[in-house]
Point group: C2
């Protein structure tokens, strides 16, 4: 299976654990054996478990590339959007990436899904089925096949172990687009709805509906409507053709180069709403939208992550603590407490969904980040100095760079590596101190994982004061 | 007026703002003009306002000396208990300090009071009256003076502006001990009670009662009983005499030297309960015991101290944030949120009084401290390194010292001063880096206030690995 994961958003609604450069899908909050994994790590692991040969491509902006490499390694493809242009250009770009860079043929199917629902393995089984339906490998459905749906002579493909999915054996040409429809559990106003023609496991789509009010949602559900989870499959050639109809470009590199000039347009508007050949696969397994602290904490298997204590008078309260200092909660009810180097949230769970404007109003710099080469954390901010803890993963190195307006000192506190300062190479280890005047070019390569305390001294210290060089 | 402030306790009940080396009286939480002051600073300012000539002596343990000098400067006397020996030896030592070191004559009165009640200026007016009563300067009371109490021919000294205090003009010899009795506002089980003979502003004491149950407290109050606030006055010679009766010593230095061998005994047990000549001065002004977060937050004039935001759904909630990162509280009710480098407390206000066992169970080192020479804060703890921010006040210096098991690096981030490393003196300023191998002797003197990042490298880094030297 080829799968494109859409990884977007700056995730302010999960502040302080998400920030401008760390979206919610990167927060390590889900226990897997003895370690914690993020939403993106969990999803990647689940995909690999269900289909060890799946090719995974992540469509995302450039701010997430480091983080994705840090959390998922090199086994994934990344289709980087040079800027945000809504879902249709993003999907077109990722599809062109699969075709032109990964050399996937035009008739192969690809599944697109967002990176952030909280789901179990059966969801990925359903994605495989979606892929097979799009490829025509599984019998799909046709306008006149509904009457045979419950009259399956062989039993083949009529259901998986959980009984939630089945293909319809009345074969026909596959639909151009196959979407997943989530069996609704309540008349939600938060989701769009897919109205299928029949109540069969796989059915043609009659129409899509935008987010309704509760009463309308109830009516839809009575008619057999499903939630539109933004998950769909198509053959690569189909979306490439749609892309060429709407955007003038030759291939992936060309589309990448002109991406900024492409019109913003959603996939629903550009493709789905105009397409008459769409089928829908029902899915009734677990599917949770992890958009707020309220829903995210529901998925936590234990109430406390990190250093934290809840006294016996606490009820329905979660602590997620990424700081190195302990949190003590006493007598708290229905509350989430989340702490990171960016800040501390103490919120009633219901109230937590209203967080965004408060976070927007904060004028705090980013205090920590995971990068492809490791991570950094701001330890101390003074008027004319900044002290940070840098972790450089084994085998990685910084860019060769200089600063115009600040001196820097590296205090190596663990590990071994090599520094280059104004062309001079030197082996370094824990206890060594390297001083770099403003203007001096410098980098460090980690032979083993290196931790260092970097002390920056200067007026108006800024992340923008950085000039990069190529090492000869 | 001579006043002895009893400053004790490690104050775990106000964790994380109090810790083993910072007691609650040092937390800067009370707004005074544009700055925040601690309980001890507030009390000292109030004493100076009511009596500019007051001599203030603080009886305390050695762990508080640095902090007291940091917050109150050099204008106070400090009577340091070499170890804890309960209230009678502590008061005897401070009294001997006043007599032998400060040369206060035996017939002068002294007032003793705890450092931690939250009070207004009228309380200190009352202390002055207590002092005058002890000195016999004000008409006190005698066994047979009660009938004249409400029959004051001159009106002199019959009440201060707030009408809460008055001396009885029927003169008699002063009592040996004059205690303050707080007019009770509810039948508390937390306080001992003073039962006066009459309901006059100043009366002989009939008896003292230990903390009662609520029903008994109601009965006491019906009889005119007052709370025993642990505030009393006496002539210096009186307590010195009691001390010589119970402890074998010659003078202050001798008592200090043999302090460890002195029996633990409370002032109430050793003196008050055996004394027949005691009078009590009624006080009806504000008096709040600041022992828990619940009572402390009541005294805050604004709900947020430090970086913090309460959304409009919060009620009766306080944030006290000593960290440099923001706290956002949403939909919280009757809650205290307190954060320091030691940890974060999120507690229902009522529940906060049960904090002590949870703090006792924490196995965290002290992460910050104020010292006479400035302050330090731990920024990062790794397996074989510790990084701290040190602030050295202008004119101060560290001890000349060495460490056996760790190297250290000083990164000066602001200020100017002089280092001495293995006898070599050197001027230093922001941007300079000083490296010190294990065993090397070092100190730094601040010409202007200096901030530096100290990086310690070694295995088993410990505060005890420190050898002090005298500078030649």
């Amino acid at each position: 299976m080829h799968i494109i994961l859409l990884s977007g958003g700056s995730g302010k609604r999960l502040w302080p654990l998400s920030n401008d450069i760390r979206s919610k899908q990167f927060i390590k909050i889900f226990k897997n054996e003895d370690a914690y994994e993020s939403m993106v790590q969990r999803m990647y692991r689940q995909i690999r478990k269900v289909d060890a040969d799946a090719t995974v491509t992540i469509a995302t902006g450039k701010t997430q590339v480091s983080q994705l490499r840090n959390q998922l390694g090199e086994g994934i493809g990344i289709s980087v959007e040079p800027c945000r242009r809504d879902t249709f250009p993003a999907i077109a770009l990722a599809t062109a990436y699969l075709h032109d860079i990964q050399k996937v043929p035009e008739d192969e199917p690809v599944v697109v899904c967002p990176v952030d629902p909280y789901v179990e393995d059966d969801y990925f089984e359903a994605l495989k089925k979606l892929s097979d339906l799009a490829a025509g490998k599984l019998p799909g459905t046709s306008e006149n096949s509904a009457e045979h749906a419950h009259d399956n002579p062989s039993g083949q493909e009529a259901g998986n172990s959980s009984g939630t999915i089945s293909g319809n054996p009345s074969a026909a040409a596959p639909a151009n687009l196959t979407v997943m429809g989530i069996e609704p559990t309540y008349p939600s106003e938060k989701y769009g709805y897919v109205i299928p023609e029949t109540k069969d496991p796989v059915s043609r789509v009659s129409t899509f509906r935008e987010k309704p009010d509760v009463e309308t949602a109830k009516r839809y559900i009575a008619q057999g409507a499903l939630w539109n989870a933004g998950v769909f499959a198509y053959r690569i050639g189909y979306v490439l053709q749609k892309a060429h109809e709407l955007i003038e470009f030759t291939d992936y590199d060309d589309l990448f180069a002109r991406y900024e000039t492409v019109q913003k347009i959603s996939f629903d508007y550009a493709v789905a709403e105009k397409e008459s050949s769409i089928s829908v696969l029902r899915f009734a397994g677990q599917w949770k939208d992890m958009g707020t602290w309220n829903t995210l904490t529901e998925a936590m298997t234990e109430p406390v992550i990190g250093k934290g204590t809840l006294n016996e008078k606490c009820e329905n309260t979660n602590i997620i603590n990424e700081l190195d200092i302990p949190i003590l909660a006493m007598g708290m009810k229905n509350c989430v407490i989340a702490a990171s180097p960016d800040g501390i949230l103490v919120s009633d769970k219901e109230q937590s969904s209203y967080i965004k404007p408060y976070v927007d109003a904060m004028d705090e710099g980013v205090k920590f980040a995971e990068k492809s080469w490791g991570s950094f954390q701001v330890l101390d901010v003074e008027k004319s100095s900044l002290t940070i803890l840098v972790t450089l993963l084994a085998g990685h190195q910084m860019n060769y760079h200089s600063h115009e307006h600040r001196d820097e000192v590296w205090n190596i506190i663990s590990g071994e590596g090599t520094t280059i300062v104004d062309g001079m190479e030197q082996k370094v280890k824990a206890g060594d101190v390297i001083t770099m005047q403003a203007g001096c070019r410098h980098t460090i390569h980690a032979d083993t994982e290196i931790k260092l305390i970097e002390v920056q001294i200067g007026r108006n210290i800024s992340a923008h004061d950085k000039k990069k060089y190529t090492l000869e």
